[in-house]
Subunit: 182 residues, 2 copies
Amino acid sequence: MRSKGFDGMVCSIAGVMAAIGDRWAVLILRDLLCGLSRYEDFRHSSGVTNATLSDRLKHLEANGLVERRRYQQKPERFEYVLTKNGWQIGPAIMVLAQIGDRLDLSGASSPPMKFVNRKTGAEVGWSYIDRSTGEPVSAVDLAIEAGPGADELVHWRVSHAKARRAEAKARRAEAEANRAET
Amino acid sequence: MRSKGFDGMVCSIAGVMAAIGDRWAVLILRDLLCGLSRYEDFRHSSGVTNATLSDRLKHLEANGLVERRRYQQKPERFEYVLTKNGWQIGPAIMVLAQIGDRLDLSGASSPPMKFVNRKTGAEVGWSYIDRSTGEPVSAVDLAIEAGPGADELVHWRVSHAKARRAEAKARRAEAEANRAET
DNA sequence: TAAGCTAACTCTGATTATGAGAGTTAAGAG
DNA sequence: CTCTTAACTCTCATAATCAGAGTTAGCTTA
């Protein structure tokens, strides 16, 4: 894992990606969320190689997302379980799965996995919501702003993006004008 | 990108991760969602190196998430914008950001970015919802099942996970019994 | 007219990660 | 005494990444 450049970034997204590690780790997390817990489970489930799996488990452990613990002595055997923090990654995996289904990237013609309410059996999805009212919010109404923890780069990103959108709008207006002229 | 093993997997999560590419691509996607669009924007924003950025943009384009287009001639200059499919990745990035904030992985003491409703200014979050009723669903009620597109491996994963949970339960019961004995 | 500058790259060479698979350890099973 | 299982570690060839230099084409400033 070449995390150079990811360390020291002020960005929640970069932070989570660094904590996870790479795409193999995402598959391990998927398996952990399903309920798998052993080295050989992960190997069988995702086809990851020994060196990579071993490394990724250590990384997840070092980042507090996974806990390694002995489940038997004689011979010693270990399993891996999600920590409290590790469970927090769940929603990201679920959203990823549903995006994959929608964009038809699963490799199958219909969803290989589904998420259900274990009490009612109903299918579960997700939605943007207004944090104060709890009302659903449409994707088109979503805007990104600098938060209280923003550093200079984040401010640059947000304001520069605004400028880019303005430029694009101006170009569209000009193109429109040119078309009207002819 | 060593995508060996990711090709041919029947898994929506692996599919999206393969389409995205790696964590640098996630940062590029973040920037695109913010509104940045040019090569130098991405470089400045994420600190990615030339070779990697160039490669990642090509990969995203090849996977239909990003479109490269000329925005001026003399000299020729290009920009990158999200395609319709590319916009679908948005929720994943947002969820990732909010997880990072909650786990305090942003590198700052408070969120560097926030998501708001551009109409009302209210902060936007997300929630699990029941797909038929639209009611919110609690994370503890969420269960993963094999879907209609599941192949043998997915079925194995789901049923094996169930077995693992049963084993863990039995071990806990035994440990409980031992403790009661003494 | 020449030297700088900008945007969007490509190229190079040293370093680091990955994939495939063989080997290790410790214990129980046949 | 050999086989099997679980959880790894080791090796080596190959592929990806980093840092930074170079390229191209048309401005712009002196």
